[in-house]
Subunit: 344 residues, 2 copies
Amino acid sequence: MKFEAATIKDIAKALGLSTSTVSRALRDSHEISEATKKKIRDYAVEINYRPNPVALSLKEKRTLSIGVVVSEIANTFFSQVINGIESIAYKNGYNVIITQSRESLEREQMILDYLTSRSIDGLIISISSETNDFTSLKQLHEKRLPIVFFDRVVEEINTHKVITDNLQGVYQATQHLIQNKFKRIAIIASNPNLAITRERLAGYLQALADHKITVDHSLIRYCSHGGSDVEEVEIAVKDLLKLKKKPDALVLLADKITTETFSILKREKIKVPGEMGVIGFNNSKYTSLFAPALSVIRQPAFEMGEKAATLLLNLIESKRAVTDFKLESLAPEIIIRESSQNSR
Amino acid sequence: MKFEAATIKDIAKALGLSTSTVSRALRDSHEISEATKKKIRDYAVEINYRPNPVALSLKEKRTLSIGVVVSEIANTFFSQVINGIESIAYKNGYNVIITQSRESLEREQMILDYLTSRSIDGLIISISSETNDFTSLKQLHEKRLPIVFFDRVVEEINTHKVITDNLQGVYQATQHLIQNKFKRIAIIASNPNLAITRERLAGYLQALADHKITVDHSLIRYCSHGGSDVEEVEIAVKDLLKLKKKPDALVLLADKITTETFSILKREKIKVPGEMGVIGFNNSKYTSLFAPALSVIRQPAFEMGEKAATLLLNLIESKRAVTDFKLESLAPEIIIRESSQNSR
DNA sequence: TTGTACGCGTTATCAC
DNA sequence: GTGATAACGCGTACAA
């Protein structure tokens, strides 16, 4: 079952003209007489002619579409980034093909293989938490596929990158807890493979150092799937709760880890913030409706998407090879609500 | 800046063969000798040859991609549906192009125009809340573009449709409130243009009728943008609160209306469920973390996506014109939590 | 001002 | 068993 559409040929035949005349008329070439142009245009409208983008792509070796790879669309942060990307892309006549790696390296490879077999002009990607092998991304980069990283970037690949100032965000969050008299601040991080995990941890460590608090390594936990595996969060939280010297506050370094942890604490009837102060990364509006309302580190997701898309379109449309790559670091927003206010 | 990839021609030239031989060898045709095949295959692997999907599309008049139009990706319900669509599409070698109408008829038209100018093989759509003119969808349908509707379907267009059993869902939710001794149950609906709005309202009305409660039309409100316009929800809620005979419970007929209303009640310090019982459509996991935990009507979103995609692929791949169209109606899940439990 | 011929990458058809 | 050619739809260099 297929639906057929009109082509230039159809117009040419119907009007007794050649395809080139029709083509030129439709592109408003000055070498076509107004009379013919009008005739052709009118007929084109009449039969609702649309140029075939596939034929154009083949000819011009571009598809006017960009690929986006995120770990999960349903994650608010990513869907907001995608909104940003989309808004810029559409404005510039580009299509956006969105795909999800679901935190799997294997799926990410498949997607990259598929997308880049020539059906996209450029790529915007936040790598999966599993990804520790960048050869296929490197190959694509060497083949000069325009790539922009955001959020989970690959440090070793030299191209545009858009991130949140992760270190600052976590530094401020941790400092906020310290100033609220929390004494044993634990942290649950995502996969240590990821550069953002290391940066975020650095913010935590620096805040402790600046406030002359010695690091207790038993208070640092990792979730290698960034919280998308519910059990790993459960293990991390319960391990912390089992410690002889329990933490009295938590910094949570990924959206899913944050909500999952909050849910576990609720289930375990741990009072927040009474027994446990909580602040964590999360981009959902819903966290303000939690009880207690959740303090969060919020990333400027929409803006990140806009920036990433703008940079990518620059790369795609630049005539010569770009060598001056930017690292855009946007300030996160620290939203203090009840969950991190120590009443002691 | 562009990246070039190997073509059949390159292989042919390098090996001193014709393009047709190479093409046949790569498709494992029996009319090519094993020796030649091996030589060609090895070289193809060596230079990492990938067939150009654009050329294939042009030749085969299909793009192996399907378009999806939703009002907003960031809406959990839609992102879950998209997950379902994606899972089926990828399994069958199809690409998914996701777009957002942002509840705007104009944007929806643009998207349809763009997508269907031949760059997709089929369409899965949940129309925008503004859409009351279906001519362009009808035209596409007449041109035999395979279309599957989900959620917000167009009744007048005869094709596959996947919906939740909206009437039942709202019926049960309303009945639950009645059984919990709520006496004045108000309802905030989405745009009355939408078939789902009418169905959902019918569920409410039927539940009232079955329990011999007379309908009070002052308790029925509409949000024409489905709650994506914050103010319209604010107006609806405040109007209800201003009534001389205030409602003591609310049924909310769209995801955004639900969370927005909840947020307003919280801000206005209306006790839920003490002063106002609440139940509404919502697909986010987060609602269980609200205080009070929110009772919801949950749609089987992932499954809806799977079903819609499966039906669409059937349409696309069917040899003859399909005339037997299905209306799949999936059961919603009514999740009772605190917000709808009357303690009186 | 308009028409002819070619190429983008691939495969089907026909020829050798 | 392999090669040449046409076709998919479009735009453009070259011809007229």
